[in-house]
């Protein structure tokens, strides 16, 4: 039986099952390896001072020479400023666009055009968002090129399409019958949108905002030529040079100094923990609300 035609086909089928399972294992190897490396190397940097001190001056470890580590207080502060400013602009615009698409656009062509535009925008390489922000500020106000403000503009550009698409998906989970019931009660359109549809879809909307924050907080490329280098001194203001965790990792990775390298792994671990926390939170929120497909 092992060697008849049917048996061979079965064996082949089973080996293909094993192979495709193996593909999953191979895919997950880098995930485990990256997290392992960040925990081992970055864990060494974690302490109270890691969160409270500014980065120390770059220094090479030699036998007998102590290399002060410092912490990533400034990069954390800078990232919070950047994300706060970017969210302030991107979240209202994104939610507005999503509400318009779902509540007014319905299934008309305009709704498809808006969501396709947002999809395409979210596929634009992030470094181009940096160039966009750089050029825009260069045209209008040269003084604030290389500032937290300029960097947050770049991140805003990246966040808007993500907020738009995720909120749109969330708003679409609200059943049409809810809107019809509200309309039948004579409630005006804007009250239905804000007090009924948005409130019903709130967990999904919050998840969308969190996902966009997670993406923006990890982006280094758009900040390369927009925020300057303000990591070693106290941050001055949003029109002055800024600092960010992902950019700090880039400098630490390329500086080849002992303490910056260690701090960079610490910053990497911090970012990974944040991304993990946000994906787990959003997963829990989504599982508790309506299970629905999410666009690729």
């Amino acid at each position: 039986m092992m060697f008849d035609r049917h048996g061979r086909r079965k064996i082949f089928s089973h080996s293909m099952t094993v192979l495709s399972g193996l593909a999953v294992v191979v895919i997950l190897v880098p995930l485990v390896a990256v997290i392992y490396e960040a925990v081992v190397q970055g864990g060494a940097a974690f302490s109270v001072t890691f969160f409270t001190q500014r980065p120390a001056n770059p220094c090479f470890a030699h036998p007998g020479i102590a290399c002060p580590l410092g912490g990533v207080y400034t990069p954390i502060e800078g990232t919070l400023e950047l994300i706060g400013l970017a969210s302030l602009v991107a979240v209202p615009i994104g939610i507005g666009a999503a509400v318009f698409t779902v509540e007014y656009g319905r299934n008309r062509a305009i709704a498809r055009v808006i969501s396709t535009t947002a999809d395409v925008l979210s596929g634009v390489p992030s470094i181009l968002a940096g160039i966009f922000a750089f050029t825009l500020f260069l045209q209008f106000d040269k003084a604030i090129v290389n500032s937290t403000l300029d960097g947050s503009l770049a991140l805003t550009v990246l966040m808007i399409p993500i907020v738009t698409r995720t909120c749109e998906e969330a708003l679409r989970t609200v059943p049409e019958s809810v809107r019809e019931a509200a309309l039948a009660l004579g409630i005006s359109r804007w009250k239905i949108s804000v007090r009924i549809v948005l409130v019903t879809a709130l967990p999904g909307v919050v998840t969308g905002v969190l996902l966009s924050v997670a993406r923006a907080a990890g982006e280094a490329a758009p900040l390369l030529f927009t925020i300057g280098n303000g990591c070693l001194h106290p941050l001055q203001g949003i029109d002055q040079q800024g600092c960010a965790l992902p950019l700090w990792i880039y400098w630490g990775a390329t500086s080849a100094t002992t303490n910056w390298y260690t701090l960079a792994w610490g910053a990497a671990l911090l970012l990974i923990l944040m991304v993990l926390a946000i994906s787990i939170t959003s997963r829990l929120v989504l599982n508790r609300t309506v299970r629905r497909m999410r666009g690729g």
Partner: protein, 330 residues
Amino acid sequence: MSAANPFPLSSSRPRKHAPKWADLTFALLTGLGAALVMVLLAAFIVVLFIGAKATVELFGFRFLTNDVWISASTNPHIPGNIYGIVPFAVGTLLTSAIALLLAIPLSLGAAIFLTQQAPVRLRGPVGQLIELLAAIPSIIYGFWGLVVLAPIMRYEIEPALQSWLYWTGWFNGPTTGVDVLTASVILAVMVIPTITAISRDAIAAVPIHQKEAALSLGATDWEVTRNAVIPYARGGVFAGIILGLGRALGETMAVTLTIGNKNAIPTSLFSQGQTIASLLANQFAERSGPLELSALMEAGLILLLITLAINVGGRMILSRLQRGQGVGRE
């Protein structure tokens, strides 16, 4: 007003709730948000084009055919600035192509496993783990690639490849671990979640009767997948590959840290190179003057137009499929 009309549901009834100012304001405000999304896309193209104007006028089509990137101020032997995109276009296409070559079989295998073969309880969690790969910031992959992967490539994988495949000519030169191949491997890791997620959704949307018909003919599990499921889902799988390509072309930080950053056409997979995105990341801060800035903008503009075209194409395939059959999970 309805007193005269005992049947207010008739289609000719007057609107009871004419839009009030609050409604209008709200519609306008949300419409403004939607308009901004579309303006943003146009602004991207316009702003980059304005920035690139100087070199577009100076070099014209030669920018697309020049294979060097030389600033007169940094190289006294050169009479003038010459900027061309060829080395970076080659670097971008080469790394993306190898990344897809590595990513497609793995992603397809994973998508098939997650929809056809894995125990149902395992499908959700494993799928989420693969999606998590997409959430890890690019810069962390780059750092990991530089610190962990590059030495492995240099001392283990590249010497082995060289001794097996030296005759192809693709694996010549010293093995450094910081080269086109390493960047491509990192890119593959980064596009796998995109291709897997979209392929999985496409395969999961294949109607059950499609599988049942094949099973009733006595097909094995693999034959069902190969002959009944994959052909049905190939549009979605293709869209996933296209969108994965879009991501690979524009990936910046991970490539910048692992490709070696050399402004020349790579001569083998072990040579250092540069993609358009890594050129921008490296050269922007070290630009020699306004003309090089303009040349960088033009490179960015070209990257923008390519990724826009690819994303529009991929999304159009997906939305056509969605309207036709529904490319959703289950």
